[in-house]
Amino acid sequence: MKPSFWYRLDLWARRLTPVGLTLLLLIINIIPFQVPGFARVVPLFALIAVHHWATYEPELMPVYAVFAVGVLQDMLSGVPLGINTLVFLAVYGTVVWQRRFFVGKSFMITWLGFAVVGAAAMLMSWILMSAFHMALVDPEALLYQYLLTLGFFPLLAWGFLRWQQAFLKAD
């Protein structure tokens, strides 16, 4: 028996939510919060999202979606096109390739894994940025951005996990 139209529509909508949530976080990322200095070190929510969905639901965050998220992040944040795209693709590739390490571990291990992947991602973006401008970019703000991203990871990851349990479990 074929599932009803509404059922399929519902399923389809649910399966779009990982990408949708990631895009929403991109927007939230660039809202002016008017907290002094915050805009310079604002955590990279999209990096957390890409890492999370690559770990738990890579089929719902396919590689071309990661590409699109990266391009949009580059576009909106005003950095040279392609930099975050490459970083997000690298993170996605690493996580999917090493999924056995990331899936089903305790939260501390997951967090530690993200700390390592995130550090590599930040280093990569610093290298790409410096290469693009052919000058060493000041890494200080990036360091704080990394630490803040790391700090926000548990909150977002918890939110995503709850979301999965609530809306994506039926798959």
Binding site: P32, P36, G37, V63, M75, S77, H133, D138, A141
Partner: protein, 289 residues
Amino acid sequence: MNEKLRPVHRVAAPIRSLQRFAYLGLVVAAFGLMMLGKADVVVVERFRAQVTDTVAPLLDAVSRPVATVNDVIAEARELVNLRAENAQLRKERDRLLQWEAAGRRLEAENQALQRLLHFIPHEARGFISARVIADTGGAFAHSLVLNAGADDEVRRGQAVVSGDGLVGRVVSVGARSSRILLLTDLNSRIPVVTEQSRVRAVLAGNNTGRPVLDHLPPNDTVTVGERVVTSGHGGVFPPGLPVGVIVSIGDNGTVVQPLVATDRLEYVRVVDFGLDQGVLQPQGATAKD
């Protein structure tokens, strides 16, 4: 647990075979985009303006409640400090009244001298007030997005000011949004002159909060505490817009603290000075002193 593990196996195979191909292709494409950004700035900026334009209404809507919450917090804080602030404002008013007298005298004198010299002043043709709807870039790029664009007569190259001084300039314009390159951005180069010693230099952003003065003539001396204003060279900005204050001179160069705290901006003015775009190049690193 089983529910979680099942899709892992289901998905592992296609990822290994088919997606690996797509993955490599997309990595190459991303590199291609980077090269394109280096080679053809105009195309990329137009693309960027269009994407920003598409998202602008959403940004506009989402940033309003945030701004409202911030206003409420600021108001509550002001209520607490009302008495102290009142006393301070009284003191400041007395001081400003003296300045007003001095200003009026200087204005009269200036007008008399200008008539004497047949001086043609730069005058702003108009202002466009706009709201900051995105503060973007993170650690790498310092830019803002405004909710005014080509439909509101915003043009590339125009100066953006707040009450305190120069904020930056318009780098790309969509129909209803525009992107401002802050003067702290790595790509920002602004021809400036020190207010007292009249030394010309280029204020170069470096992605930190404090840009430095480049191309200072070797024999001229500037002092800490001196104000820096736009010089008007290069035909991008009108002369005399306040920019910042020199805070230190040392191994890091001559460091300038901008007058505008960009992270507190809610509204700015785009100023149409009627100047042609002049020598402005897409990347902005143009101002040759």
